[in-house]
Every structure is written in structure tokens, then in C-alpha cells.
């Protein structure tokens, strides 16, 4: 066995450049796979995290008749006395924050410019606002009793050419189907680095939102964050709210999860195509080696080497090429991914309706992906090596011996 690998190694060493380039092809293929996997992981991993942090929370309590798409504001579709409901949920030990939020749609306008917006009435003191508070680029965060102040995201500020301290007119839909107009002062500009969210979301204190939308003492939802995502089901079961509906993050992010699943299944095809190409390079190298060494195969056969052993010799060569290629791929891929994990890839506002993607992808390589893709590369290379190995093993010694050197 050791002799077999020694021979295989020396055979590869005979044409070092060719062996190196074959291993390099596999290495570059693996690099590409690892890079793509790390992008998907970085993108999808953060997409879900972002969706939970900014939009869905781990769970929400809503009226059964609430329609998210229409942004219902009728009192029957809202939660009455939301502070009491929120306080009851916040009392559960797994809960990090539970806060009422009121959503309303509207139009922001200044001078001749206008933009459709979504108004988030939030309790400025809640811990759940951390993403906005931490993302303040300029100005001050909201206070609960502010009646004229709002926060807008950076993309909206850029679009309407606004800065903190500027005035902005908001037209807001109300619970009785009318439109209320008021001029607000921009207290600050925030960024969650999620273009799809920041470009349309205007934050204002809950009390003010309730007043302008004529939804007194009502909220669209109780937004709940947990200490640990894994506790979601337990908390959903523990929440006592017979008249309301409790939704978990899976339910609220169905589209994102389905998108992720679809992306993963596309990736499998992508992986197979890339590895198919590198496998072709390996097959080519080894088939050439078989033809170049026909007479040697004849000699080995003449001194009594069985076909299976000749096959093993060529398989040993392909497995060594595979190991070499995988090492190259891990080093090259590791370096490239490490760079983009640190500095990120800016993609801007990657618009898929209903899905929040971060502006910047920070690649994330998991051990699972690394191991799985390396094994896949090894298996496919060995499968590719099977053809030349069988070709060598099937040679008739007499004809092989007659071959020109």
C-alpha cells in the first residue's frame, strides 16, 4: 500500500507542471464553492437575523383579523390596551423585550419631492429599538413625549435631501379611512445597513403615532424579542392571549425561508457543475498518463500485477491530486473568504420585496460547509479517476507491451 502511494507520488512528480495545474484547477473550483457557500451563509444567515431584529421579532401578538399587507388600522384589527398585554409577556423569563408597535402607511413630502413610507410607532424606551438607536448617524434618538419629532433612514434622507433639524410633511392614513397631515421635525438620521428597511421606515413615538392615526390606546402588534431563538415555541405556548394570534418568526419569515431553501437547491447544481468541470481536467490528465504509460502498465501486468492493483495505482494518483487540490482550495478559499469576512462585499439595496438583505455581505464560512464541500470535491475527483483507472486495468498486457515508448 505504501509502495503504491510512493509510486503514485513519483508518477505525479514525472510531469510536475501538469500535476500542479490539475490540482490547481480543483483547488480553484473548491475555492469558488467555498466562497459561494460563505456568501450564501453570510447573506442568508444575516437576512434572517436582520428580519428578526428589524421586522418580525421572534414572535408577535396581533389581532386575528390584522392584515399586514393592508396595514389595517381599524380598532377591531388592533390590540387594545397594548401596554398591559406587553407587560404580561415581558414578565416571562425567556423574554428580552416586549413592546407595542403601531404601523401606518403614509407619504412623506418636502418641497416637490415625495416618497411612500411606513410609519413605525415605537416606544422609544424599549430595548427592542437597539438596532435604530445603535445606528444613529446624526441627531438625537426619540423621547416618549415628543409630539413633533421623527427619525428617518439614511436612504430616505439622501433621496429627499434632508438632514437632522429639517422639516418634513407626513400624510398618514387614519383608522377611519381619512388622511391626517402634519409637519414634523427630523430629530435624527439612522441606518440599520439594510436599504430595504431604511428607505421606507419613519420612526415616531407610539403615543404620537396613535394620535395621528386615530388609534388611541391601540397597537398593530406586540413585538417580542427573546434571549434565545430556540425558546420561541415554549414562549408561544406560554403566552396567554385568547383573543389574539401569536405568530413565530418562522411563520412571519416564510418567504425568506423558502427563498433560502430554493437558493440552497440551486447551489447544489452550481456545485456539481463546477466540480464537473474540474473533474474533466483530472480525467484528462489521468487519461493522458494512462496512454503515456501504456508500456509500463504492460510491464506491471507481465510481472503479475492484477488489474485491480493497476486500477488502485491510478486511483492513488487521483486521490493524491484531489488531496493536493483540496489543500490549495482551502488555503486560497480561506484567504479570500477571510478578507471578505472582515471587509464585506457592498451590494447596495438588493431588492426582493418582503426580504431584508443587508447592504454589505460579510462572508461566513462554516465548518460544516468546509468539510462537506471538501468531501464532495474528493468524492467527485475519485469518481473522475475511475475511468482512467479502469482503462489502465483493462489493458491487455501483450498489446500494452507492444506500445511505443
Amino acid at each position: 500500500m505504501i509502495q503504491l502511494f510512493k509510486m503514485a507520488l513519483r508518477n505525479l512528480g514525472r510531469n510536475r507542471r501538469r500535476s500542479f495545474f490539475s490540482a490547481l484547477a480543483l483547488g480553484m473550483g473548491l475555492t469558488l464553492l467555498l466562497f459561494m457557500a460563505s456568501i450564501i451563509e453570510g447573506e442568508m444567515g444575516t437576512a434572517l437575523e436582520t428580519a428578526i431584529r428589524l421586522q418580525s421579532g421572534h414572535l408577535q401578538v396581533r389581532a386575528k383579523s390584522y392584515d399586514e399587507i393592508k396595514t389595517s388600522l381599524k380598532w377591531a384589527d388592533l390590540i387594545e390596551d397594548p401596554d398591559a398585554v406587553a407587560a404580561q409577556i415581558a414578565a416571562l423569563e425567556q423574554v428580552k423585550a416586549a413592546t407595542p408597535r403601531l404601523f401606518a402607511s403614509g407619504i412623506a413630502s418636502v418641497r416637490d419631492e415625495s416618497a411612500g413610507v411606513r410609519i413605525y410607532g415605537i416606544d422609544p424606551l424599549s430595548e427592542a429599538n437597539a438596532p435604530y438607536r445603535d445606528g444613529m448617524l446624526s441627531g438625537e434618538f426619540l423621547t416618549p413625549d415628543d409630539r413633533e419629532g421623527i427619525l428617518i433612514g439614511k436612504p430616505l434622507a439622501d433621496k429627499l435631501a434632508l438632514k437632522d433639524g429639517d422639516q418634513l410633511n407626513l400624510s398618514v392614513n387614519t383608522s377611519n379611512g381619512e388622511i391626517a397631515d402634519q409637519t414634523f421635525t427630523i430629530r435624527g438620521i439612522y441606518s440599520t445597513e439594510t436599504g430595504g428597511f431604511d428607505s421606507i421606515t419613519v420612526l415616531m413615538p407610539l403615543a404620537k403615532a396613535q394620535a395621528i392615526a386615530q388609534a388611541e390606546n391601540h397597537a398593530s402588534t406586540i413585538f417580542v424579542l427573546l434571549n434565545d431563538t430556540a425558546q420561541t415555541d415554549a414562549v408561544v405556548a406560554a403566552v396567554q392571549a385568547p383573543n389574539y394570534e401569536v405568530l413565530n418568526w418562522k411563520k412571519m419569515n416564510e418567504f425568506l425561508l423558502a427563498y433560502e431553501e430554493m437558493a440552497n437547491s440551486y447551489m447544489v447544481f452550481f456545485y456539481l457543475i463546477v466540480l464537473g468541470i474540474t473533474a474533466t481536467v483530472i480525467v484528462n490528465t489521468l487519461v493522458m498518463a494512462v496512454f503515456e504509460r501504456t508500456r509500463e502498465i504492460g510491464i506491471l501486468s507481465a510481472i503479475g500485477m492484477r488489474g485491480r492493483r493497476i486500477m488502485a495505482l491510478f486511483l492513488a494518483e487521483s486521490s493524491m491530486l484531489a488531496v493536493g487540490g483540496i489543500i490549495i482550495g482551502l488555503i486560497l478559499g480561506g484567504l479570500i473568504i477571510a478578507y471578505f469576512t472582515r471587509y464585506g462585499i457592498f451590494i447596495g439595496d438588493f431588492g426582493i420585496t418582503g426580504v431584508l438583505f443587508s447592504d454589505t455581505i460579510h462572508t461566513k464560512l462554516t465548518l460544516e460547509d468546509t468539510v462537506n464541500l471538501s468531501i464532495l470535491a474528493l468524492v467527485i475527483t475519485l469518481l473522475a479517476g475511475l475511468y482512467p483507472a479502469v482503462l489502465a486495468a483493462r489493458m491487455e498486457p501483450m498489446q500494452a507491451l507492444r506500445a511505443e515508448k
Binding site: I299, A302, I303, P397, M398
Partner: protein
């Protein structure tokens, strides 16, 4: 004792629609310890006969026996096993594995036979000594002269202590002094170890070493002379 026996052997090669009769009914018996030359012009069938005895090929009809065993109907693996244990080969070209040293080339059939490390080492060193190449043990074929390479091939052929060594034009690619040295080595090993040698040649200087000469022409044996008739020629 008969090492090999050939009965009514024919071998027909079919290339497209054309049939070539390489052997047309050959009968031959070779006893243990013989040093026999198969001679004849090109195309007379000597290489084909050697390949049939060496289990590299199968006859179209007739039987080939090695050590009393009919090998004409063996499958690929059985033939490989037969070659590995019983037959050593020396080819016209210096058939060594270019990536292996002289030592490792001789070791290869021993590894295939599963010999232990110490026994392998002992046997290889002895063989290298007997072909006078001890100091070249760790050289690769491209660092050896043609004559040296062929002597390594002789040592490898003898490594497994085979019943029979088959040599196909062993000196054809060597100059006269090297050819002579290889033939003398083979003769000496035949006498020392009693291993049977059968070699195909059309070189009169090589034929002169043989104690028996079997002459083929157009696929049949036309002359079968023993030691008394030859072997006293010019061994230049």
C-alpha cells in the same frame, strides 16, 4: 521434469477481415534447467510462442501446460497470478519502471508476492550482487547504461525464483560487449540456480550460448536440435 509443454498450438490473429496464422500447430516440451533458444526470421512466430508460454496470450487452439497445469483457458487474473509466481520476463527493450530505482524494480514482483521486508532485502541484495550491480542499487533506470538496465531486468525476472524465465531478444538493443555480459550472466544464473531459460533471438552470437535451439519458420517448428548439435560455436 517438464516445465512447459505445448500441444498442437495454433494462434490466429484477426485484424479486420484478414487472418494471420502466427502459429500453425506447434508441439514442444521444455525440461527443467534448459537453456533454450527459439530462433527464426521475423514473423516466424517465436515471440507469439514465447507469449503463449508466458501466459500473456491464449492459443486459438491446442494446450499450453506450465508445471503440468493447463493454462490455455485461464482468465486474466488467473494468468496474472500464474505469471507472478512462476514466470520471469526479460524484454527486448529494457522494461523497467522508470520512476523506481534498480532496487525497487527488483522489489516489485516480491511485493506483489507478499514477501516480508527482511526477506525482500536479502534476496534483492543477493540478486544485485549476482548481476554485479550492488553499487548501482539506488540508481534509477535513466542513470543506468543499457547493459546495466538489462541486468536489472534479469535480476527482477529471477526475483521470485520462477520455474521459467522467458527472454524476448534480450540483447537486441545492446552493443556486443554488453550483450555478451548479459548472456554470460544468464548462462551463469542458469547453471547456478537451475532456472529454465527460454529466449527468442535471431542473433547468431546469442544462439551460440544455447544448449538447445528450436527453429521456427512460418509458424511451425522446422528444427529442434540439442546440445550435441550446437553450443560449441563462437561465444564472441
Amino acid at each position: 521434469m517438464e516445465v512447459t509443454k505445448i500441444e498442437n498450438v495454433t494462434r490466429v490473429f484477426k485484424i479486420g477481415q484478414v487472418e494471420t496464422h502466427a502459429l500453425r500447430g506447434v508441439n514442444l516440451s521444455i525440461e527443467s534447467g534448459e537453456f533454450t533458444a527459439l530462433v527464426g526470421p521475423s514473423g516466424s512466430g517465436k515471440t507469439t510462442l514465447l507469449q503463449l508460454i508466458g501466459c500473456l496470450d491464449q492459443p486459438t487452439s491446442g494446450q499450453v501446460y506450465i508445471n503440468g497445469k493447463d493454462v490455455s483457458k485461464l482468465n486474466r487474473n488467473q494468468r496474472a497470478d500464474m505469471r507472478r509466481g512462476t514466470i520471469g520476463f526479460i524484454f527486448q527493450f529494457f522494461a523497467l519502471i522508470p520512476t523506481l530505482t534498480a532496487y525497487e524494480n527488483i522489489e516489485m514482483p516480491l511485493l506483489l508476492n507478499g514477501l516480508g521486508a527482511s526477506e525482500r532485502r536479502e534476496r534483492i541484495m543477493h540478486l544485485l550482487e549476482s548481476v554485479d550491480l550492488t553499487d548501482r542499487a539506488h540508481h534509477r533506470p535513466d542513470q543506468l547504461s543499457g547493459g546495466e538496465q538489462q541486468r536489472v531486468a534479469v535480476a527482477r525476472a529471477l526475483a521470485t525464483k520462477p520455474a521459467l524465465v522467458l527472454a524476448d531478444e534480450p540483447t537486441a538493443n545492446l552493443d556486443t560487449p554488453n550483450g555478451k555480459q548479459v548472456m554470460e550472466t544468464m548462462t551463469r544464473l542458469n547453471q547456478e540456480t537451475g532456472v529454465t531459460f527460454v529466449f527468442a533471438t535471431h542473433d547468431p552470437r546469442v544462439i551460440s550460448y544455447a544448449r538447445r535451439v528450436v527453429t521456427l519458420r512460418d509458424g511451425v517448428i522446422v528444427e529442434n536440435s540439442t546440445e550435441e548439435l550446437v553450443g560449441s560455436g563462437d561465444k564472441a
